[in-house]
């Protein structure tokens, strides 16, 4: 089951779904219930968080790169610059 998921994720990495979202992120988002609270560690430019928020998930993010964080905050996402430890 897990290896199958990993395979799907790998194959889907660069692919885009009907809504324009990365297919791998859609797969992840499908695993999260609306209303859940999610911390995305290493959230990059916030694409997954944005997808989750559009589905009613309370998403937060941590991102190391300053560019990524600033992009996320500019998208209205709750993202903090730093490492998981910090």
């Amino acid at each position: 089951m897990l290896s199958r998921l990993k395979y799907d994720l790998t194959m889907a990495e660069a692919a885009r779904g009907p809504g324009g979202s990365r297919v791998d992120l859609l797969v992840v988002a499908d695993m999260v219930q609306p209303g859940a609270r999610v911390l995305d560690v290493g959230c990059g430019d916030g694409e997954l968080l944005r997808l989750l928020e559009s589905r009613g998930v309370d998403g937060r993010g941590i991102e190391l790169s300053r560019e990524g964080v600033n992009e996320c905050v500019a998208k209205g996402l709750a993202v903090v610059q730093g490492r998981y430890r910090s």
Partner: protein
């Protein structure tokens, strides 16, 4: 000649303290401001500016909190200096704090000198300026007075509170004191407490003011004089802390001012000296020396955690407010570590918080300057919050 001009701006400023070029609310004597010092201050006067239009639901108000030497004139020309407003880069039609969408309110802080009650205001009991008889005020007192203004304006809940430096302290105090009245909070280049180093810098400034023989124990108004030199020196010292070594080098380096060689005197040989002197001279035209003492004191006393057993998170427990904390890489007065402490506390309190550090060499003052990254973050944060608020 110098004495005449000093008297003139003194009279102008005294007028501005009581009868400002701004709308004013004068609270009745039976509506005092309860001060942390244990004093009920009355009659309280608040001067403020507004920009944009309050919507029918009264849900689009943004409170802009000004910094130590700022005032309520955010995006209009200053009535004393004629210079443009201090946050025209951030606030206005189409700007990140968009006055076409939001109703922006900026009150002059209590203790200030531009029309809200302060040491330059007239004490009705004596008919003279309060001077040092004005009670010592705190950031929490400023915020309490602002809440009274919002009550007067019929605004139950702010869409956002935003401000840098001392303005950021007020924003944090707002979120702590009135969590249900602030939907979104934007403390920029701020901290939850004034550091020992910052208190030390302020003390140098206050001592410069008080060492000026023209200060006269704070009663200079009564004697028609102005402690210009002391206040100018205070401003020069403080101004250095608002910049950075890199920015000073970029702007001035070791370049001479209108000369090719040192004069072997104590003239302002260097551009940086000339610049600082100019900063000092222009500041005393528009600012009251006693106000400077009171407001620096208020910042020194600020320690949000002290009210919650030393735990900052206690100030934000179960807060419904969403936060966006912003710092600047070259700000050594309110360094990023201070903002991170705010973010840690907010995370511990379960708050919805964003944090970004803007890369710039312009130091603490960067929050007032043209910083596209800052604008993008503020715009995005407010847009996200507006969507959540249904604006």
């Amino acid at each position: 000649m110098a004495d005449i001009s000093a008297t003139l701006d003194l009279a102008d400023r005294a007028r501005e303290a009581d009868e400002p070029h701004s709308p004013v609310v004068r609270f009745a004597a039976n509506k005092p401001l309860h001060l942390d010092a244990g004093v009920d201050f009355a009659p309280l006067q608040i001067a403020y500016q507004t920009y944009g239009t309050l919507n029918a639901a009264r849900s689009n108000a943004v409170l802009v909190c000004h910094a130590l030497t700022g005032d309520q004139h955010v995006v209009n020309d200053h009535p004393v200096t004629g210079k443009p407003g201090w946050w025209e880069t951030m606030v206005g039609p189409g700007k990140p704090i968009d006055t076409e969408r939001y109703f922006v309110i900026c009150p002059n802080v209590v203790g200030g000198c531009m029309g809200s009650s302060g040491p330059a205001s007239t004490n009705p009991a004596t008919g003279m300026p309060w001077g040092l008889d004005f009670p010592v005020i705190t950031v929490r007192d400023m915020v309490r007075a602002q809440a009274m203004l919002l009550d007067y304006l019929g605004i139950e809940s702010l869409f956002a509170a935003a401000g840098g430096s001392m303005g950021g302290m007020q924003v944090l105090q707002w979120a702590a004191s009135y969590p249900h009245r602030v939907f979104a909070a934007l403390p920029i280049a701020a901290s939850t407490r004034h550091s020992a180093q910052n208190i030390a810098f302020h003390e140098v400034g206050r001592q410069a003011v008080m060492a000026d023989p023209d200060w006269r124990g704070g009663r200079y108004f009564a004697e028609g004089i102005n402690p210009r030199r002391g206040l100018a020196v205070a401003r020069m010292g403080a101004h250095i802390t608002y910049l950075s070594d890199a920015a000073l080098h970029r702007k001035f380096g070791r370049r001479f001012q209108n000369r090719d060689n040192p004069t072997f005197s104590f003239d302002a040989d260097f551009q940086v000296e000339s610049y600082l002197r100019h900063q000092g001279i222009t500041f005393v035209e528009r600012f009251d020396a006693n106000s400077y003492l009171y407001l620096t004191r208020a910042m020194d006393y600020f320690d949000l955690a002290a009210d919650y057993d030393g735990v900052i998170a206690g100030a934000f427990r179960n807060t419904p407010t969403r936060f966006c904390v912003i710092s600047f890489t070259s700000d050594w007065l309110f360094p990023t570590s201070e903002s991170r402490a705010i973010v840690h506390a907010l995370n511990a309190a379960g708050a919805r918080v964003s944090f970004a550090e803007v890369t710039t060499d312009k130091g603490h003052d960067a929050f007032l300057l043209d910083e596209p990254e800052l604008f993008a973050i503020v715009r995005g944060f407010l847009e996200g919050a507006a969507k959540a608020r249904g604006l």
